[in-house]
């Protein structure tokens, strides 16, 4: 790949400017940033927590640009974007910056289209790194200051700040709003999360009951997205459960929601489930306040996100079933969630006791809703041994199962949430005991 003299000159100029930016000691009153350089994903979006210090109460932040090259900002201070290489401006909807006590906290959310332009430049043989430049305007006639962060194109795994870039909450049924009969258990819920980096995802599932105040946008931000002084001041809601899981550097995870039996279903109305993410320790996302001239300690920002997290709703009461009592205690016992069933196992489906039940209906289907098998089981029974050819019908596909309790009129009294099963392909099963008890 050949480089034209002009490109060579640009490359040298960029290198010199970078060297100047790194080596020259900041002048008093000069605005600084930390971190000054980060690895970012070359194929998808990236979010990074940045701290700017030295604003001195006389500067305010204005636009932020991404570009492939810097040029001197003289007579202003610092280096600004070369207008011919601008990749884009931080969209307003992702601008989560905050100014508090002279410290400017910025959340740099790089859309994939910006990384793509940098990737194209790398394919052309140009420098693959690009820059994020914040402009600060003085309020008392000082020159503007430009402060840049270097973004190095990487794979999005280790050494990239841990950040959430895409979060989707859904029930297993995939309905936008789930309808649940009073007393019935909702289906299981999950958060499908795409992220950069690696580390711990720590947080809690909360719920807003009918009549409770709804969360504000600020309450839905991850804790790491907030300025240090704002952390811990978000409103808390009723906690359903906590989680603390490790995210490997592979970019995608499915976080299981709280146990569906813990979701309140007695009172009718609209319930809102919240995913609350707490800050975690992540070396790549750390802001050194001393280096930025904004304090003396280090701010962690593991699990930062450039957007408020989505919420998930379910409505109790609109469903056409009319349950009686005790629905919340009706639950599945065995096999456990995600159990892997092999043909050799004597599989037994088991569920808890439920009163006023004439009949149970065990339903087994694929995750996309194709019914594989169902069985009616007498109301006094709570076990079922499936036929051997269940595995043939499953054909190795993941399954889910649940049990419906039917009343004397044949209507559903209560139902358990779905539970997933993994199966190995098979044609036969060894002998097993008889079917119902």
């Amino acid at each position: 790949m050949t480089m034209t003299p002009r490109r060579c000159l640009r490359g040298y100029a960029s290198a010199i400017l970078m060297a100047i930016a790194l080596l020259v000691r900041p002048l008093p009153g000069q605005i600084r940033v930390n971190p000054t350089g980060v690895n970012v994903s070359g194929q998808s979006a990236t979010t990074v927590f940045l701290t700017f210090g030295g604003l001195g109460g006389t500067y305010r932040a204005v636009e932020a640009l991404w570009c492939g090259e810097l040029e001197s900002a003289v007579p202003d201070v610092g280096s600004r974007c070369n207008p011919a290489t601008v990749y884009g401006r931080l969209p307003l909807q992702y601008n989560r910056s905050q100014l508090a006590t002279g410290v400017f906290t910025d959340i740099m959310s790089i859309p994939a289209s910006v990384a793509r332009q940098a990737y194209d430049a790398a394919v052309r043989g140009e420098t693959s790194s690009f820059f994020y430049v914040r402009r600060f305007v003085g309020s008392i006639g000082q020159p503007d200051q430009y402060v840049s962060v270097t973004c190095r194109l990487a794979g999005g795994g280790a050494r990239v700040p841990l950040a959430l870039t895409d979060v989707r909450l859904s029930f297993e049924t995939d309905a936008p709003v789930l309808l649940v009969g009073a007393g019935e258990s909702p289906s299981a819920l999950t958060a499908d999360i795409r992220y950069n980096g690696t580390g711990r995802l720590i947080g809690r599932w909360e719920i807003v009951r009918p009549g409770d105040e709804m969360p504000e946008t600020r309450d839905l931000l991850t804790e790491a997205t907030l300025a240090p002084t704002e952390r811990g001041t978000q409103r808390r809601f009723e906690e359903l459960s906590r989680f603390n899981v490790f995210l490997p550097p592979t970019g995608r995870t499915t976080l299981r929601g709280p146990d569906p039996s813990r979701l309140p279903v007695v009172g009718e109305g609209v319930y809102v489930i919240l995913l609350r993410i707490e800050v975690s320790d992540d070396k790549e996302g750390d802001s050194n306040l001393a280096a930025a001239g904004a304090g003396s300690s280090t701010v962690h920002s593991g699990a930062v996100a450039g957007f408020p997290l989505p919420t998930l709703r379910y409505v109790v009461g609109t469903a056409l079933t009319s349950p009686t009592t005790g629905g919340q205690s009706f639950r599945l016992l065995a096999p456990s969630a995600d159990a892997r069933l092999t043909p050799a196992q004597n599989v037994t489906f088991a569920w808890s006791v439920q009163t006023n039940v004439k009949m149970h209906r065990l339903e087994i289907e694929t995750r996309d809703g194709e019914r594989v098998f169902e069985a009616y089981v007498p109301g006094e029974s709570r076990l079922y041994h499936p036929p051997s050819w269940l595995f043939e019908r499953a054909n190795g596909r993941p399954l889910r199962w649940r049990v419906l309790a039917l009343g004397g009129d044949g209507r559903t009294v209560a139902r358990t949430p779905w539970r997933t099963l993994l199966t190995d392909p098979s044609t036969t099963m060894p002998p097993e005991p008889c079917c119902t008890r």
Binding site: N39, T250, P387, G410
Partner: protein
């Protein structure tokens, strides 16, 4: 004919054809085999079987449904009597099995069963439901700013649903719609999207489906796609149609909104051409006598989306467009011992101008490029139907390989591009004990661009599940699961002309281990879970930047009766940073109780306490939360069709305090008392 007993007996020769065990079995039914019966007719099925088969239990299956429980067995006769559940309407085969411990399920034979529906082949049902709720705040401290307290019964909300089904001359029409509304705009469905003018009453979802024979058309909340790299189970508002030609071919077409939508605007979901995805697929079963034996499916997709995430999702989104073609195939041998699945797709994509990103600037933009993605999965059962010392053994091997080109994008899916991977997965079982192990290799920068970082990832995992109670048939013996994972990710080199230094290149080894032990009985369950992860940084200059995290949780649930449920959780988390010396400890315990002293009364209470401390940097956080709620159905107030209103009163109290090196001490105390009344109408 309610209560009628049909006495005509017809022997079925087909009963003597299936398996060896049925050689001496003869099945008969007390009705002509071609006769239609009503769901509440009574009839007998008589099975004449050999003496040695008499100890086995009889089972009856219709299609995929075990209906044995709808029959009464006495000797060799199964008697069906009318019950509210009823037999499924239509023409079926009733298959009879012998079930015993030694031979499992043995098919005896089948007889035809033709059941009329309750309305004489035609159905018409309309089920509306509506719930009015009124709620308000009796008191709170501190008061919201501005004071927006709602007096009791001042804040009104409504949820409404409608389901209908109509069938006539083989054509069925099914509809379903759900709406939410309320006087408080903050509770509106689209408040997050339109905080100033979100409609107070809005459409959550709807679906209208017309079916005739093997064809169907749907409008509303539909799903489409089964290609891993092109479009896979996309669920959104739109229209879809499918038609089957016998067991051989299935054609599916769909047009959907680019993201999930709710509301009355954009009712069809496809009115905005800049935010619409259209696709079609044709699936062929090349061995129709053995579904899944050899299946080929071609898929085409064309779409563009605006930079919005959609309902229930948040993301850093771009405006983009793509068009792609894909092929997927599945093959398996007759015994399902070996299975192969693969797919190939080619997608042409680019990013579209976005005024929010360009903000009047002239951007270089990107060129539209076509890129490929493919995958192949091979699964083979090495051991099956094998037993050692009477213990069944299984062993299956899966090999997977996948490559997604750099810059490969398709609008309906967030495929991770510029990655090539291979994976080997082994699963097996010894009796009820299941074991799983896998190794995987991933690599990026597939185009080998010298100024980009190339990263290699090596991952391995091992899992073991021991369902103790199944093994020893004793409830006190726990189920145990163990999982271990190890991931090493490292940059291959320092890329040239990139801004990278040696210290910027990752080299990290992560190890995760978790153990869960669970006891479960009818009345209580106990789960003890431990999880630990170690992030070992090995890159130059960061050798000591290691993190060790641990999490321990104990959960106890007690359900002495359906009217009483108690749960308790205790958890301890630890996070240690070797470089800084930080060691954060978080402890939490919570208790929840739900009591139902009377049919119409439910009292629930939840208390949780969380505290976090870090001694080196002086971080302290504490939070405790108490909520008590009384739900009371009001059975003395009977509404239309027996509906019963419901009232609640809820007290909530919360304390929170926080202090640390950056922030001054923060203390918050709050309480609130809410009430509400719900009036359902169905």
């Amino acid at each position: 004919m309610p209560g009628a007993i049909l006495r005509a007996v017809l022997l079925l020769a087909s009963a003597a054809q299936a398996a060896s065990a049925q050689d001496a079995a003869i099945i008969s039914r007390t009705a002509r085999p071609d006769a239609w019966i009503a769901p509440n007719d009574t009839f007998d099925v008589v099975i004449q079987r050999r003496q040695e088969q008499r100890s086995a239990r009889l089972a009856a299956v219709i299609g995929t449904t075990d209906v044995t429980a709808l029959f009464t067995a006495h000797g060799d006769t199964l008697t069906y009597r009318a019950n509210p559940i009823g037999l499924p309407a239509g023409e079926h085969k009733l298959t009879l099995y012998l079930v015993d411990y030694l031979n499992g399920w043995t098919e005896l034979g089948e007889i035809p069963l033709r059941v009329r529906n309750r309305a004489g082949f035609e159905t018409a049902s309309v089920d509306p439901a509506i719930v009015f709720s009124s709620k308000g705040q009796m008191g709170a401290e501190p008061r919201p700013t501005p004071d927006v307290r709602h007096a009791p019964l001042e804040d009104v909300s409504v949820t409404a649903g409608l389901q209908s089904m109509h069938t006539r001359e083989g054509v069925s029409l099914r509809t379903q719609a759900n709406m939410l509304g309320g006087s408080n705009r903050e509770e509106a469905l689209r408040f997050a999207e339109r905080p100033l003018d979100a409609p107070k009453i809005d459409l959550a979802d709807y679906l209208v489906t017309v079916e005739r024979g093997a064809g169907s058309i749907s409008l509303g909340h539909v799903a489409f796609g089964q290609h891993r790299h092109l479009i896979n189970g996309l669920t959104s508002r739109g229209a879809s149609a499918s038609a089957k030609w016998g067991p051989v071919a299935t054609l599916s077409l769909a047009a959907l909104s680019g993201t999930s939508v709710v509301g009355f605007n954009n009712l069809t979901g496809i009115s905005d051409p800049d935010h619409r995805i259209a696709g079609g697929s044709l699936a062929l079963e090349l061995l129709p006598q053995r579904p899944g034996g050899l299946r080929v499916e071609a898929t085409a997709v064309d779409g563009s989306i605006l930079p919005v995430a959609g309902f229930g999702r948040s993301a850093i989104a771009d405006a983009e467009a793509s068009e792609g073609l894909g092929v997927r195939f599945q093959a398996s041998d007759a015994g399902q011992r070996h299975r192969l699945e693969g797919g190939y797709s080619r997608s042409r994509s680019d990013y579209l101008p976005d005024s929010a990103l360009s903000a009047g600037l002239r951007l270089p933009g990107v060129t539209r490029v076509a890129r490929n993605a493919w995958y192949a999965d091979l699964t083979t059962n090495l051991l099956r139907d094998v037993a050692m010392a009477g213990i069944p053994l299984t062993l299956a091997l899966a090999l997977r390989t996948e490559r997604v080109d750099p810059l490969y994008r398709t609008v309906p899916l967030g495929v991770r591009s510029d990655v090539g991977s291979t994976e080997m997965d082994i699963t097996g079982s010894i009796g009820a004990v299941a074991v799983r192990a896998s190794v995987a290799r991933l690599r990026d920068n597939l185009s080998r661009i010298p100024s980009l970082l190339t990263t290699d990832t090596k991952a391995s995992s091992f899992g073991l599940e021991v369902p103790g109670s199944s093994l020893v048939r004793q409830a006190w013996f726990p189920s145990i699961s163990v999982a271990v994972q190890r991931i090493h990710q490292a940059g291959r080199n320092v890329p040239v002309n990139s801004g990278f230094a040696e210290t910027h290149v990752p080299d990290q080894l992560s190890a995760v281990a978790s153990v869960a032990v669970q006891w479960m009985t009818n009345f209580w369950q106990l789960r003890v879970q431990a999880n630990q992860s170690d992030q070992d940084n090995r890159q130059v200059g960061r050798e000591s930047a290691d993190l060790l995290n641990s999490s321990y949780v104990v959960s106890l649930g007690v359900t002495p009766s359906p009217r009483v449920a108690l749960t308790m959780d205790v958890g301890i988390d630890g996070a240690r940073n070797d470089e800084s010396g930080e060691h954060l400890r978080t402890g939490r315990w919570s208790a929840t109780s739900r009591l139902q002293p009377f049919d119409a009364t439910t009292v629930s209470a939840t208390y949780s306490n969380t505290s976090a401390t870090e001694q080196v940097f002086g971080i302290e956080q504490a939070n405790n939360d108490l909520r008590v709620e009384w739900q009371q159905r009001l059975p003395f107030v009977r509404l239309y069709r027996g509906n019963v209103p419901q009232a609640f009163i809820r007290y909530a109290r919360q304390h929170f305090s926080s202090s640390g090196p950056i922030v001054d001490r923060v203390r918050q105390r709050s309480w609130s008392m809410n009430t509400g009344l719900t009036i359902p109408l169905r």
